[in-house]
Structure formats: structure tokens, C-alpha cells
């Protein structure tokens, strides 16, 4: 395990109730003296919103505990007025150890700890109980409020999830990550229904905005490893971030993906543009100043209340990426994440329900 990465964590608090479990024992093994047992919640959690300093702290402190709520939820992108791709999320932790300037967790995290839940068996029980969904083409991702794989070399949850999903062939499991940590599950016998996906941006944006993440090349290398082991892969070019050389940057990204992968390797990709809740702006400005491409962005309030680039600029950016992919190979399938049907029509000329390869993704679950 990467010693440099482990060093960035200041402390690991392990809930007394879970200290003898498999996951907790792995944390003890990996962190040694840094790991300590506590009873109840961590003592330094305040009520209310975190300060910028406390948010930064939440990336260096881990709390290992059990989760008492509902693991399985509809994707937060599911809002009235948005084109929905039937995505569900399974949250096995909360907060991410990487530090992207635009991360939406900055708008609602209220604990100064990265939390890892140990009761994955309860999550499986919850999934087993969803009988009405067992025969539906449901997509379930584990990377909504925590990176799917960045802590996985410790938890090894990927192995259990892959095994579990073999019993549900109609379901698709998606690991969404900005790391290159895939070696721990490459030997698993999977059911062909696992997608390993990368949220990806051009090298310039990664260096400037996605702190502590794997480089562009590392992500593509990890994707190649997964592809070679028969996993489906995907890329989410999201959030696209405007900068003066954006066309060169995103052109390079599209060409790299097109050169190294085929539409058979990647069933579908998504694009999205920078968006965030207005309240998040303060946190980003306090943490990253105004030298970040994200805090500098010229954003305006859109219909759903989020701040976004000007509509026509978003159109230009989406159109550029889609055209470039299609000119490389018309078989690429791409959809837009968290955009309105109107944006779909302006970009593709129709809503996702009318594009054959995407119809299944966007069909309402019965």
C-alpha cells in the first residue's frame, strides 16, 4: 500500500461497536498506532456547517463505524425537469480523501471525518429485499458521496460487491473513481455486469483542480487493465471546465480515449459541465482562492438553482466533445449528466428517450 498516501491521514477513529469486524481489523493493520477505538461519535464534531479548515480536516481523519440509515437511494440528479438515467446509489461511506476544487460534497458535508461504513452485509440485505427491482435494468453506483475505489485497497468492498452482483445479472454495478486502484479486484470472477468508470478531465484540469487524484495517464492505464480483464469501462467527462485552451485540452482527451478504447469496451459515456450550489461558492473560494478555474468561472443561476456556465457556452462545449467523438467513431454512445431535456434537444436534436442506444438507460423503471 502506498505509504505516502497513508501518511496524509492524521487519525483513524474506530467505533467500539465495530472494532472486531473484518473491515476495522484491516484499518488497525494498515494504520497501526494512528488507529484508536472510541465509543460513540467522534468528540470533535460540531453542530452546523463546517468551516473551510474543518472541511480540509475531514479529508485527513477517518471514522470507521456502522451506518444505521438506508444504503440504497435514487441518484441525487433525479429532479423534476431533468432527464433521468435510472441511476441508483449505494453509499458505503461518506466524504472522499481526494480534493477536487469543484466537489459538491463541499456544500453539504457536516462531519470533519471521512466516514467508512463497516456493515456492508446490511447493505446487501437491503438490496436483496428490493424484490420488485431484481428483474429491472437497474444501474447502481457506489461512488456518489465517496470515491468507489480510493479506500478500497483497505476495505476490499469491491470484491464483495462483485461477488454479490453475480446473483443479479440484470443489475449493473458501477465503481466510479478518480483513482487508479484496481489491482485488488482484477482477479475476481465477475458476472459481466460490473462497470469500472473514471470521472476524467484533461491533464491541465486534473493538475489544476483535481488535487490528490490519479493523473490522466494513470487513470487510462487502470482502465486498460480492467478492460483487459473483461470489465466494462466508462468515462464521465464531467465536469467539463472552461479554460482558454479548452478545445485543445478536451480534443486531446477525446482522441486519447478514442485511440486506446473502442465503443465495445465502453458501453456508454457521459458529459457534464461545471455546476454547483450557490452556497458552495464560499467554501470553494475560502479553500482554493480565486486562482482556481472553478472559482474564476463565469457562472449564472440556472433553472434548478445551481450555478452553471452560460447556456450557449455549455452547448458549445458539449457539441465539441460529441462531434469529436462521433468523427472519430460514430458508434460512441454519450449522454449528458444532470441536464434538462431542452439541453438534450439543443445538443442532440432530440431527448434521450429518442436515441436508440440510450433509450434503455433513460426508460422509467416500472
Amino acid at each position: 500500500m502506498n505509504a505516502h498516501w497513508l501518511q496524509k491521514f492524521d487519525r483513524v477513529l474506530i467505533d467500539e461497536k465495530v472494532k472486531d469486524g473484518e473491515t476495522a481489523l484491516r484499518f488497525f493493520e494498515v494504520f497501526g498506532d494512528k488507529a484508536e477505538v472510541i465509543q460513540g461519535p467522534p468528540p470533535d464534531i460540531e453542530k452546523g456547517e463546517l468551516s473551510a479548515g474543518q472541511f480540509a480536516q475531514s479529508k485527513r481523519q477517518i471514522h470507521v463505524t456502522e451506518f444505521k440509515g438506508q444504503f440504497f437511494k435514487k441518484c441525487p440528479g433525479f429532479h423534476k425537469g431533468m432527464a433521468c438515467c435510472n441511476y441508483f446509489v449505494l453509499n458505503l461511506g461518506f466524504q472522499c480523501d481526494m480534493d477536487c476544487s469543484y466537489c459538491y460534497l463541499q456544500s453539504f458535508i457536516n462531519s470533519n471525518y471521512l466516514t467508512v461504513y463497516t456493515n456492508i452485509e446490511d447493505a446487501f440485505a437491503e438490496l436483496r429485499s428490493m424484490e420488485s427491482l431484481h428483474d429491472q435494468p437497474v444501474r447502481i453506483g457506489t461512488g456518489e458521496v465517496i470515491d468507489s475505489l480510493s479506500m478500497d485497497t483497505i476495505t476490499l468492498y469491491s470484491r464483495k460487491l462483485i461477488e454479490f452482483f453475480k446473483d443479479y445479472p440484470k443489475w449493473t454495478l458501477e465503481f466510479k473513481t478518480k483513482s487508479d486502484r484496481v489491482d485488488q479486484f482484477l482477479d475476481c470472477d465477475h458476472g459481466g455486469n460490473v462497470i469500472v468508470s473514471w470521472s476524467i478531465n484533461p491533464p491541465k484540469v486534473i493538475e489544476s483542480e483535481e488535487h490528490g487524484t490519479a493523473s490522466f495517464e494513470q487513470r487510462l492505464l487502470a482502465a486498460e487493465k480492467c478492460r483487459d480483464k473483461g470489465y466494462k469501462i466508462s468515462f464521465h467527462i464531467d465536469p467539463m471546465i472552461w479554460h482558454p485552451e479548452w478545445k485543445e485540452s478536451y480534443g486531446f482527451l477525446v482522441d486519447q480515449i478514442s485511440d486506446r478504447f473502442t465503443p465495445r469496451d465502453i458501453p456508454v459515456m457521459s458529459v457534464g459541465a461545471l455546476r454547483f450550489q450557490p452556497e458552495q461558492k464560499n467554501m470553494m473560494r475560502e479553500r482554493f482562492g480565486m486562482s482556481s478555474l472553478v472559482t474564476q468561472a463565469e457562472t449564472f443561476r440556472s433553472a434548478d438553482g445551481k450555478l452553471r456556465y452560460d447556456y450557449s457556452l455549455r452547448q458549445q462545449m458539449f457539441d465539441f466533445v460529441l462531434t469529436r467523438f462521433k468523427s472519430n467513431n460514430p458508434a460512441w454512445k454519450i449522454f449528458m449528466c444532470m441536464e434538462t431535456p431542452e439541453t438534450w434537444v439543443d445538443t442532440f436534436g432530440h431527448t434521450p428517450y429518442h436515441e436508440k442506444p440510450l433509450r434503455e438507460l433513460f426508460q422509467p423503471i416500472r
Binding site: K47, M290, R301
Partner: protein, 260 residues
């Protein structure tokens, strides 16, 4: 607190100190209240009886004395208490904030430190408009809000509404941190400050309301670009004499192909 109850605490002292705080709105108006030798409402009349409430809980005294307070007033009250170690240590900020439907935590503490550094005129405006924690949060991005004290003084003189002020403050902080010269950020001699700030903050995508479009439209048509949220829309105005004139002009307009 009633006068009857206070009568038991009336004292006769001349060596009391004064808390450097005067609330902008409500204050208890029956007596001067003293706690550990400090008069808490010194702005009131000197001939009022002095009551010593040092035996009571200090925070509860403050809550009763001043009632609900704006965020700005609370900042000023906490700041004034800091001058007296006895008051500072007796003040339960969590309790006081809870009584005012707010929370005291690290984030609030940082905001208070920032608001304290702003000019009085700005604080007067922020109190008057009941600016809340989220509205004033941009100030925390500055190392020291005194860096933009001149702008904040000018801000206070602009008679901005709460929503205008909230947006303007956000843009001012952005522009200052982006290194824009203060004289550029300052209110312009002509035009609205809000338009100026918007143009400075969005040089690439901003479309001012006055940006009218020619693009080959007939003379009786005026087209103006305007921003609505994340979109730039066009507003068309047609000048006509009567119904017949309107139908002729609309007919001609339908055949026009402007160079958009």
C-alpha cells in the same frame, strides 16, 4: 424581567465600567443593568437606577436585556464582551446564539471575526437589511476585510436592497481577490454599480441590458439582449400605429431574415 423583580437588585455604585455596545434596535429600558461591575446597557440614561445582576447567569441576563438580535448586533456584542475577561469567560456563546436561532461553531466564529473588521457604515446597512450568515460569508474569503474598507463604505452609500447587496458583496470579493483595481470596482459615475460589477465579473459571457441588436431588423423593430439566469434571451419591441399597421409590419417581419 420586571421592575418589581429588579427592585431587589438596585445598588449604589459609582466605580462601574461600561460595555462598549449599543444595540441598534431593542434594549431593556427600565434600569441600567450591571454585571460584575460592568454596565451592560450604558447607552441608556445615567439617572436610571443601577441594578446589579452579578448573581444571575450572565448569558441569560444578556438574552433578557437585549432580546432578539441581528447577526451584526451579536458580532458587536461579543466583541464588546471581549474587553472584559470576566464577561468573556462568563459568556456562553452557544446558549446566546441558540436563543437567537443560530449556531455557534468554528464557521460562525470565523464569520464573526470577519464582520468585526468591516466599517461601521457597512454593519449599519447589514443590520438594517438583516443580512444573515450565508449573506455575509464572502467576507471570510478575505484575509482581512479592512482590505476593502473603502469599497464597503461606498457600498453602504448605494442604498442597495438585500438581494442586490448580497450579490454585489459576492462580486466585490471575487474581483478584489482576482486582483481587479479598486477604482474599477468602485461605483461608476454613470450607470448602475450592479451592471458594472456584473460586466467586470463576467467579461466573457456578460450581455448588458443595453446591448441592443441591429442585425438587419426593420426600423420599427427594436431587439434587446438580456440575461435571464444562465441564458441570454432577446426581447423584441415593435412600434405600430394601429391594428392594420401592426398586421402589415408583422407580415413584413415574417419575411425578414436577420443576420443573427
Amino acid at each position: 424581567m420586571t421592575w418589581y423583580a429588579l427592585a431587589m437588585f438596585i445598588c449604589d455604585k459609582s466605580d462601574v465600567e461600561k460595555l462598549n455596545f449599543s444595540p441598534r434596535s431593542h434594549c431593556f429600558k427600565m434600569a441600567r443593568v450591571e454585571w460584575c461591575n460592568v454596565v451592560l446597557n450604558p447607552g441608556e440614561r445615567d439617572d436610571w437606577p443601577l441594578v446589579d445582576l452579578s448573581d444571575l447567569d450572565f448569558t441569560e441576563c444578556l438574552i433578557d436585556l437585549f432580546g432578539p438580535m441581528s447577526l451584526v448586533e451579536t458580532v458587536e456584542l461579543f466583541s464588546a464582551c471581549q474587553e472584559f475577561p470576566a464577561l468573556e469567560s462568563a459568556l456562553n456563546k452557544e446558549l446566546f446564539m441558540k436563543a437567537n436561532s443560530r449556531q455557534w461553531n468554528q464557521k460562525t466564529s470565523e464569520l464573526f471575526a470577519a464582520v468585526e473588521q468591516t466599517p461601521v457604515a457597512f454593519r449599519d446597512w447589514a443590520h438594517q437589511k438583516q443580512m444573515g450568515q450565508k449573506d455575509l460569508q464572502p467576507l471570510v474569503s478575505l484575509k482581512n476585510p479592512q482590505e476593502i474598507a473603502d469599497l464597503l463604505n461606498q457600498f453602504s452609500a448605494q442604498n442597495l436592497s438585500r438581494s442586490e447587496g448580497k450579490q454585489a458583496l459576492d462580486w466585490i470579493v471575487d474581483l478584489h481577490l482576482m486582483g481587479t483595481a479598486t477604482d474599477l470596482i468602485a461605483p461608476p459615475e454613470s450607470g448602475t454599480w450592479s451592471d458594472r460589477l456584473q460586466q467586470l465579473r463576467h467579461p466573457m459571457t456578460d450581455t448588458p441590458a443595453s446591448n441592443s441588436e441591429k442585425a438587419g431588423w426593420p426600423k420599427y423593430v427594436q431587439v434587446v439582449n438580456f440575461r435571464q439566469g444562465d441564458r441570454v434571451l432577446k426581447k423584441m419591441q415593435i412600434t405600430y400605429l394601429d391594428k392594420d399597421d401592426l398586421s402589415k409590419k408583422l407580415q413584413r417581419l415574417s419575411k425578414t431574415e436577420p443576420q443573427l
